[in-house]
């Protein structure tokens, strides 16, 4: 599902404000097809808001946004078919099993041969052992994995991951690492995280957001982790 438009995501002078409160201020960003952009920034810098705007959940207060060649205002429904999103919350119905949750989203996204697709994705994300259990009895890490499965079920060309590593212990983190590697394929990914090492390992482009402004946006060419951390602290005031 890869439309032949030049860039996956084009953001121009994006602004988001609530009355006088500016959450995002003049964001400019271009993400090319196949890029893996990692977004860093302290809490409250606007990372989640930016991802939610990209996910069509929030509407911007100003500026333009094109995803997969489609303007946000024009056809948000079309954009939704091309993106997969993982947020802080697992987005799972607690009384339903993992399978049923995936089935629900698969039906809404009109995924063809849904049952087979669910089984394949489950294998990929190693969730088959607990797929038929109610999600409210599962651990946070297991729910996160089902959530990841949900986000790729309809095979979107763009993935938006908002702190997918949040709340995971060391073993779950390494599973996540492998999972992201296995699903990235030819997808375009934007991921936000507080874990600089994780981000530098996975991404080919990094950006830093602070107080609603984009302070840094460069290709990641085997960047040195310590150097980057120092730069980060210098720009945002948050030590790493």
């Amino acid at each position: 599902m890869e439309p032949s438009i030049s860039s996956a995501i084009e953001i121009n002078s994006l602004r988001k404000s609530y009355g006088a409160q500016f959450i995002l201020n003049n964001i400019n960003l271009v993400v090319n097809w196949g890029d893996f952009l990692c977004l860093f920034g302290p809490n409250g810098s606007g990372k989640t808001t930016l991802l939610k705007i990209l996910a069509t959940l929030y509407s911007p207060s100003g500026g333009t946004l094109r995803i997969a060649g489609v303007d946000l205002d024009e056809n948000p429904s079309h954009i939704r078919k091309n993106i997969g999103v993982v947020t802080h919350q697992p987005l799972l119905y607690s009384h339903l099993t993992g399978y049923e949750n995936l089935y629900l989203h698969g039906m809404l996204f009109r995924v063809p041969k849904l049952e087979n697709r669910i089984i394949d994705v489950a294998k990929l994300l190693e969730i088959t052992p607990f797929l038929y259990k109610r999600t409210d009895i599962l651990s946070h890490g297991m729910q996160k994995r089902i959530s990841l499965a949900r986000s790729i079920l309809h095979d979107p060309s763009i993935l938006l991951l908002d702190e997918p590593d949040a709340g995971l212990d060391q073993s779950a983190l390494s599973i996540l690492d492998n999972l992201i590697e296995s699903i990235r394929g030819r997808r375009t990914i934007i991921m936000s995280t507080h874990n600089i090492d994780l981000g530098l390992r996975l991404a080919n482009r990094v950006a830093i957001l602070s107080a609603g402004k984009m302070l840094y946006n460069e290709m990641n060419d085997k960047m040195d982790s310590n150097e980057f951390k120092q730069n980060y602290t210098h720009l945002t005031g948050e030590s790493k």
Binding site: T56, L57, H88, Q89, L91, Y93, H95, L108, F109
Partner: protein
């Protein structure tokens, strides 16, 4: 099948499965309604003749208060894990999301009422199996679920949802409560269609207004 209908049915299915597992909505409506029926019988110092006159009112009071209890719960599972966002991320239209919720709420209310009615018949010694009565019941419940779903979505974003929902809901649905009580009473006293026709029309007009209005404005509540 066209996308809208497909999504609508999927969303209704989702609510029904969740309710079958959790049983929170129907049981709360049922238990509260039965408690109300019992309390009214004990609390009113009424002769059997008076009780008969009062019974349509008692029935509808129990439906209203139990209905409110049910309505406060319908969006709980959506808010819980941010599930509503999950629906908003899908291609499902906002209207489909509203209608899905409205229809599943309607189904739950009607199921609960179909259990409450026979119990009411027994406790109050009245026969209620009249087609016109069922018409009134269904029409009024459609009104409850249309505007109730809208208000429930509004109330769940407030700090005091348990009081906010009834405060919004009760004054607004007064016309259809009056319509339902008066026409139920008329039927129970042996009345016929001509006697209740204007009330049924009133309820129908309310339903149409509520339904159209809610479908159009629901999206406003979902925005950021």
């Amino acid at each position: 099948m066209n996308a809208f209908l497909h999504n609508l049915i999927t969303l209704i299915w989702k609510d029904i499965v969740a309710e079958l597992r959790g049983k929170e909505i129907i049981t709360s409506i049922l238990s509260f309604a039965i408690l109300t029926l019992v309390i009214f019988n004990l609390a009113l110092r009424a002769t059997p003749q008076m009780i008969l006159t009062l019974s349509p009112g008692i029935l509808w009071i129990s439906f209203i208060f139990a209905g409110i209890l049910g309505l406060t719960r319908i969006f709980v599972n959506e808010k819980e894990n941010g599930n509503l966002e999950g629906l908003l991320l899908s291609p499902a239209s906002r209207e489909a999301i509203y209608l899905g919720k409205m229809f599943s709420t309607l189904i739950f209310m009607l199921i609960a009422q179909s259990i409450i009615l026979p119990i009411f018949s027994i406790l109050f010694n009245v026969s209620l199996f009249e087609p016109m009565l069922l018409l009134i019941l269904i029409l009024t419940t459609i009104g409850f679920s249309s505007i109730g779903t809208l208000f429930s979505a509004i109330a769940i974003n407030t700090k005091s949802r348990e009081i906010m929902l009834p405060m919004l809901f009760v004054p607004i649905v007064i016309p259809i409560i009056i319509g339902a009580v008066v026409s139920t009473g008329t039927i129970m006293e042996g009345g016929n269609w001509p006697d209740i026709r204007q009330w049924v029309q009133l309820i129908l007009v309310f339903d149409i207004l509520a339904f159209v209005f809610s479908t159009l404005t629901f999206e406003q509540i979902l925005q950021e």
